[in-house]
């Protein structure tokens, strides 16, 4: 691949997905796009770039974006956000939304679905507390391929062993040959939609919680700010934004403030009710399985 071709790909991906590709990512481009080229019956990456430059091949363009933006995901990734969900966000919302008894959660850039399914597992485990509530989880991603996988809820033996305690695997998954499928009851708790965060998402309405973890890291600073400001419009004053472990809003927007003592958790306005309830011995992701 020539430097000119790499430059073209950088611009193409920035426009289509917001992905900012640094110059040291040439190896990544090659390893991810060669399979796309082969699928399109093209011999080389140069041929792929030329085809993109000619335009008109919509499905190949989508495949290129998908291949470059798909990321690994695992159940209960980083654990803490799911503890915040159970011990901080849920108690607050169960109190403040008691009139409507409805909570909406959005997993923006949900990839292959582990994050929304982890939330649905927490809700099943907390079934008594949320009985009679309408809790809707929406998972969105810009890639059709990962959304199809998320919808099917089928995971390899490797995937179900990263982050998922064995008890929860037995309880909520069905073994089908070499793979494991999450139970229909949990699949029914999540809706899936294709969405590019660079485009408007106001039509999705308002959410009480938005998980947007490890996505903004791929964007440049103005894009990050722009997305965060639009996310703020999708949340009520006391709604929650959850970012990745290494992410922050500091220096990017004034719309959100970190919730003190809760890493990765942000609110537009500090609400009084963020007191920490005593964490029960049995933690969300099974840290308490030790006897």
């Amino acid at each position: 691949m020539t430097p000119t071709e790499f430059e073209f790909l950088k611009k193409f991906l920035k426009t289509r997905s917001g992905l900012v590709l640094s110059n040291d990512k040439q190896y990544l481009v090659e390893s991810r796009l060669l399979p796309v080229a082969r699928t399109a019956k093209l011999e080389t990456l140069s041929a792929l770039v030329q085809s993109l430059q000619r335009g008109g091949n919509r499905s190949m363009e989508e495949n290129v974006v998908e291949a470059m933006t798909t990321n690994e995901s695992f159940f209960f990734r980083d654990k803490t956000p799911f503890e915040h969900f159970k011990d901080t966000m849920l108690p607050h919302l169960l109190e403040s939304r008691a009139r409507t008894r409805a909570i909406k959660v959005w997993c923006a850039a949900c990839s292959t679905g582990q994050e929304p399914y982890s939330l649905s597992i927490v809700l099943k485990e907390e079934a008594a507390r949320v009985a009679g509530w309408r809790i809707r989880i929406l998972g969105t991603d810009l890639s059709n391929e990962v959304l199809d996988k998320a919808k099917a809820g089928i995971y390899s033996q490797f995937e179900v062993q990263r982050g998922l305690p064995i008890q929860l695997l037995l309880k909520y998954f069905e073994q089908k040959g070499d793979v494991w499928q999450i139970n229909p009851g949990l699949r029914a708790m999540v809706e899936w939609r294709k969405l590019n965060l660079l485009e408007s998402f106001s039509h999705l309405g308002e959410f009480d919680i938005v998980f947007c973890r490890n996505v903004l890291i791929y964007f440049d600073q103005p894009t990050k700010t722009e997305i965060l400001d639009r996310l703020a419009k999708s949340l009520p004053e006391d709604g929650y934004l959850v970012l990745g472990a290494a992410e922050t809003v500091v220096g990017l927007t004034e719309a959100f403030k970190p919730v003190p003592g809760k890493r990765g958790l942000f609110q537009k306005k500090q609400v009084a009710n963020t007191t920490t309830r005593p964490v029960p011995a049995r933690m969300v992701a099974g840290a308490g399985l030790t006897r």
Binding site: Q157, F158, Q161, G163, P165, L170, Q175, A287, T290, R291
Partner: protein
């Protein structure tokens, strides 16, 4: 430093597991079957046991059942690590007192994730 007993009749698996667990700051002892493992535990109870199922002399499940009946045998955190990967086997292991379960083949990430799961790291 936490002690981990690696029980597997394959020396290759023991070597791989040792390398991964030493990187995670465990001190490793090894046993080739359940009986040897039981002998080790009667000397000193380890903090953790990585346990194969199918082994000669005494298999992993038999070992686990005996271990949990020993004085102090409830202390070690037991993580099965086996090619037996069907629901029936997993459920039996949990009932017998296993804390976690790794389905082979495994890699560093899985061992790390599972050991985190049970609070060993």
């Amino acid at each position: 430093m936490k002690q981990c007993l690696v029980v597997d009749d394959s020396s290759v698996i023991r070597k791989v597991a040792r390398r991964i667990l030493e990187d995670l700051n465990f001190e490793i002892t090894e046993a080739e079957d359940g009986q040897q493992a039981l002998d080790v535990c009667r000397q000193t109870m380890p903090d953790a046991i990585l346990l194969d199922w199918n082994m000669p002399v005494m298999d992993g499940l038999e070992f686990l059942t005996s271990l949990r009946g020993e004085a102090g045998g409830e202390k070690p955190v037991v993580v099965f690590c086996t090619t037996e990967n069907d629901v029936a086997h997993i459920a039996r292991a949990i009932r017998a007192g296993a804390n976690e379960y790794i389905m082979k083949p495994f890699d560093r990430e899985i061992v790390e994730a599972k050991f985190q799961e049970v609070g060993l790291i």
